[in-house]
């Protein structure tokens, strides 16, 4: 076996199995510095967070080991339960709206037109711009008396709204900002998917006389489904964790109407300095994100099975 490999180096090269000189362990020195950094800033904080979550740990007072009692506090903490509700509503809206709009935008940017690269650069500006700076301008635009949004509404005969200043409209208003900001990312991912689609199905659809909607529904959509799924997953992870926009515009208010888990975590850890309880929230929060991702994966699998079962 080894004689064979040695006698045909060309075959070994093209094969996945590397030659003796390229034996994997020798690349370790390249990875070690990054490994040290990752251990220090990602792994260590995680282990330490889990340890802290098992302690009564407040800034300025001695720490005591309390086992799981920080976790047991969570189900009976109304603010935490309420925050879960806000987070879920915020997340679902902030995934669905950008997903729909981003897909439509991708279909348009997939066409050829003059200045496409430049306009695509403009289109992605909202997601690259500094979130706090953007939040500040949106706050001015949401202003009930002087804000430009109520002026625009008045032009089409809609009465002025209180936007982020009313508990009933604060989450949809924040979702509006989030959608404006992150639709471009969905567009880019779906655009990458569209570029990978073969042209044959479109040619035969044209011959069969399919209209634009039929082509989109029965050819484009199924083919970009994997990309939509990835885009949705990334969007979900970011939306659950959304902080800058909410913090800078409402700080979780009015009252606690827009307080998501991340905002509550901030208050517990860095306003009340209850670091043990905050760590428990951080751990549960992480597990919640993983659980949401798992649900999405499961739903995707179910969809695939149904497609196979129905012979599509």
């Amino acid at each position: 076996m080894s004689a064979l490999t040695q006698s045909t180096p060309a075959a070994a090269q093209s094969d996945a199995a590397p030659e003796k000189e390229l034996r994997p362990p020798s690349y370790w020195p390249f990875v070690v510095p990054a490994l040290v950094v990752v251990l220090a800033i990602i792994i260590f904080p995680w282990i330490f967070t889990i340890w802290m979550s098992l302690n009564e740990w407040k800034v300025g007072s001695p720490t005591t080991f309390v086992g799981f009692s920080n976790y047991l506090r969570l189900p009976s903490d109304p603010r935490f339960i309420e925050a879960i509700g806000h987070t879920l509503v915020y997340t679902v809206l902030s995934v669905v709206l950008p997903l729909v709009l981003g897909t439509l935008a991708a279909v348009v940017f997939h066409q050829k037109f003059a200045g496409r690269g430049f306009l695509r650069g403009i289109f992605i500006m909202p997601m690259m711009a500094t979130p706090v700076a953007i939040a500040l301008v949106w706050t001015m635009m949401f202003h009930p008396q002087l804000g430009v949004l109520n002026y625009l509404l008045s032009l089409v005969g809609i009465p002025p709204q209180l936007w982020v200043f009313h508990p009933g409209t604060v989450i949809p208003s924040l979702v509006l900002v989030e959608t404006w900001q992150w639709t471009p990312l969905i567009m880019l991912i779906v655009l990458g998917g569209l570029a990978a689609i073969p042209t044959e199905p479109y040619e035969s659809a044209q011959i069969d006389g399919a209209n634009i909607w039929q082509v989109f529904r029965f050819i484009t959509l199924p083919l970009i489904m994997p990309f939509l799924f990835i885009a949705g997953m990334i969007r979900m992870i970011d939306a659950v964790k959304s902080f800058d926009i909410i913090f800078a515009i409402t700080q979780g208010g009015p009252g606690s109407a827009s307080e998501t888990i991340n905002l509550y975590l901030y208050s517990v850890a860095f306003i009340y300095y209850d670091l043990g309880y905050g760590s428990a929230i951080a751990v549960v929060f992480f597990l919640l994100i993983v659980a949401l991702a798992a649900v999405m994966l499961y739903a995707r699998q179910r969809m695939l099975w149904t497609e196979i079962a129905s012979g599509a």
């Binding site: 994997p24 904080p45 001015m140 902080f243 991340n262």
Partner: protein, 274 residues
């Protein structure tokens, strides 16, 4: 062109216009707010293009002595965090790609999923114990949470696409692995490094959450400084909008100039930290 094609063309341009206008109108309005005196900013119906431009809003922001401090803080934090990330992340991406150690990407995934605040709790305590809280060092270190995963992730993807033949030839000629990396792999990877650099700079520059916890009065970065302006200047929109635009301007400029690299990096499934 047939009438049908002409209608198609018009429809396409209409669609493009509808899609880009929220971004264009927002930033134009931002510029408008920043260039108006308070009289115009408080006017109803709103004034879009004022008769007199309030350039003094910009002069006020740029002229305040604090602004320079915060600008330098931002430069130091983003510059150091990006440079360090490139120093450790580019070789790591190379090593991982060549070893085909795809399981190591799980760590990056965990970093991607973890909320930024969960890093802050333990690291905040650590920095307190080490007595570093009055300096920029804590922020530089914690910004690595953002920049290192971005750089590693993009470089793994990039080195996987660069050809192995040249590297193997160099190895056969007796070059050490380090020399191969330094003189063969690295020059080829320059476009990938550019993508990693640009995205690391942008996401570090924009970061807010680490600053509000770790920055003191003297160590604020620009996003934190702008946020703190809100509470003091609730009603002077002009200077506030000017400050916001100044903070985000470098990023917007980079986005338009390097949109090809940014799109390539983000489409490759790039990561936003924090």
């Amino acid at each position: 062109m047939t009438p049908r094609q002409i209608i198609g063309k018009i429809g396409l341009w209409l669609a493009v216009f509808v899609i880009v206008s929220p971004a264009i109108l927002f930033f134009l309005w931002m510029a408008s707010l920043s260039l108006k005196f308070e009289v115009d900013n408080a006017a109803y119906p709103p004034v879009f293009i004022p008769e007199h431009f309030a350039w003094k809003n910009y002069a006020d922001v740029l002229g305040s002595n604090r602004f320079l401090t915060y600008f330098i803080n931002s430069l130091v934090v983003t510059g150091s965090a990006t440079a360090l990330a490139l120093m450790v992340g580019v070789p790591a991406g190379y090593g991982i790609a060549r070893m085909a150690a795809h399981k190591s990407a799980i760590v990056i995934l965990i970093a991607r999923i973890t909320p930024g605040l969960s890093y802050l709790i333990p690291l905040f305590l650590l920095f307190q114990w080490l007595g570093l809280l009055g300096t920029l060092i804590p922020q530089i270190i914690i910004h690595l949470v953002v920049t290192v995963p971005i750089v590693i992730w993009i470089m793994i993807g990039y080195f996987e696409t660069t050809p192995l033949e040249l590297e193997e030839a160099a190895l056969i000629d007796g070059a050490t692995r380090w020399q191969v990396f330094r003189h063969v792999a690295l020059p080829i990877a320059r476009p990938g490094i550019a993508v990693a650099f640009i995205l690391a700079v942008i996401f570090s520059w924009n970061n807010f959450v680490f600053g509000i916890v770790l920055a003191g009065r003297e160590t604020r970065t620009l996003p934190v400084a702008v946020y703190n302006m809100i509470s003091f200047d609730q009603l002077s929109w002009g200077p506030l909008a000017a400050a916001a635009l100044i903070v985000t301007f470098p990023v917007l400029l980079l986005t338009v100039l390097a949109q090809r690299q940014i799109v390539a990096g983000l489409t490759a499934g790039a990561v936003k930290g924090g």
